[in-house]
Subunit: 299 residues, 2 copies
């Protein structure tokens, strides 16, 4: 049996009791270690807590040699650990499909991920549209397909969860060209960079999906002991020192419920100012007034 | 301290290790028992597993007397347990806001909820639009505000998670009128009812948000030992016997990735037929071909 086990957001103890019991009976335990990190734990502390050795499953292993993970999984119990939920922001459907082809049973033990825990910022999950990802821009590569998705959400009045780029175990271009498995230091996009990039794309595209005065919520280290929320405009948050990773950003939709606004007040210094900013954004993006179509009369 | 603790989807052991440790140190433990249920556990089995007494927090208690939950929470540790995640489909932001007003600290221990675990059906969370809720229709009350939301998602090519009505501890109209705290037997909407209601509203509204041939995925008892997925058209699933609760439904968006389709094949009897249904739905809902605007020449 292949067990896909979610580790939750931060601590060793964020694993479920069922997940922990399962790991302890497994013959091999892999940890997917290239798309996210546990904020208050590491491989060593996990091994100690699980009383099990952990094999780091790096990108090369999962993408090129998933079969080595699945060796004997028809008879042995194998655990594949994923930060957050196994079907969270990054999914492992290809591993499951491969297991199926080999006749290996798969069981998932779910956990929290940013995709549902984002509700902790006080905005209702019902009022979110499509989730988007923002990657680190380079001088020559500034992918902006997220812009239309934000625009779609905003037109519908919905909030947008924006996941920020994580570069762990990335080869530099030179090392990749030379075939050297030497990695860049890990990089985690912070709130200021994310907001600057968002403002840059609005200045390029000019389709008014949002403005630099659009209110957002910065979510830092969600679920960890130093979890922090900060609400403000894109412009304000483009100068915000968000501290240690991980971070996510939510851009508010036009429809903000009173209870949502009330909740966000805990994350600002000046309630009145923030309320004005929310109202101004709503006014600015208000749908045009309804104009009745001309009636058509038949001859 | 008030701890909001998610219980996950099904088993007693779906609680996180940190959640369990926290419950055991709390002076009072409340279980929110009116918006969802744990499928493979009950109050008695939870009490035994936690080695703690549990106070059932029914709707009246939470909505009218939240303060009794918060008594002494400035000095004592109080746990408020919620099936899924505390900020999942049903949120408890009002309880947190009330605690803040009373100067009581709040900590959340997250867990899986349908809002992220739905990824287990193989559809990517990135490709979902707004989540909607479907309530039981009566002869005189058939609220259809969900229809425009599905339509919005479908226009954008996105999947829609449809949460199905749960009626636990509901007073009947007569008992409510007479002020009697007598409750109706619990009711959980099944897949067939959900699909019939969706078809009914399309037949009324006729705006072609979807057709009875639109492909959907029925998700039953997610995360429980009898978890079941079934893919088919709305029409097919309107006759599907989905068994014991709980159920959710996903309506596919126009954009279905090859890997998503491949994953869904495990949930159908006839792969070729299902593929045809998906392609037909995509064709039917294809955006109209692009027509270039007439160029404007200046004089």
């Amino acid at each position: 049996m292949l067990y896909l086990i979610g580790l939750g957001l931060s601590h060793e103890t964020d694993i479920t009791v069922r997940g922990l019991e399962t790991i302890r009976k497994c013959k091999r335990v892999y940890l997917e270690a290239y798309t996210s990190i546990l904020m208050a734990a590491n491989q060593e502390s996990l091994q100690k807590f699980y009383q099990k050795d952990i094999i780091l499953a790096e990108r090369e292993l999962v993408e090129t040699g998933a079969d080595s993970i699945l060796v004997n999984a028809d008879t042995d119990d194998i655990a594949f650990l994923v930060v957050g939920d196994p079907f969270g922001a990054t999914t492992h459907t290809d591993l499951v499909i491969r297991a199926r082809e080999l006749g290996i049973k798969v069981e998932t033990i779910h956990n929290a991920s940013i995709m549902n825990a984002v509700g902790a910022c006080g905005l209702q999950l019902y009022n979110f549209g499509q989730t988007i990802s923002l990657v680190f821009f380079t001088d020559s590569w500034k992918p902006d397909s997220f812009y239309d998705k934000i625009h779609g959400n905003r037109k519908a009045g919905l909030h947008t969860l924006i996941l920020l780029d994580i570069k762990v175990k990335e080869q530099g271009i030179e090392n990749m060209a030379r075939g050297r498995l030497i990695y860049e230091p890990p990089r985690y996009m912070n709130i200021a960079t994310a907001c600057q990039q968002l403002i840059e794309i609005e200045e390029t595209r000019k389709e008014k999906a949002y403005t630099e005065n659009t209110p957002c919520v910065a979510i830092s280290r969600l679920g960890s002991p130093t979890q922090t929320f900060r609400a403000g405009t894109l412009k304000e948050l483009s100068e915000y020192d968000s501290g240690e990773p991980l971070h996510s950003l939510v851009m508010l939709g036009r429809q903000v419920h009173d209870l949502e606004l009330e909740y966000l007040y805990a994350f600002v210094n000046d309630k009145e100012l923030f309320k004005q900013q929310v109202v101004q954004d709503q006014e600015f993006f208000k749908p045009p007034p309804y104009v009745a179509e001309e009636e058509e009369f038949s001859d």
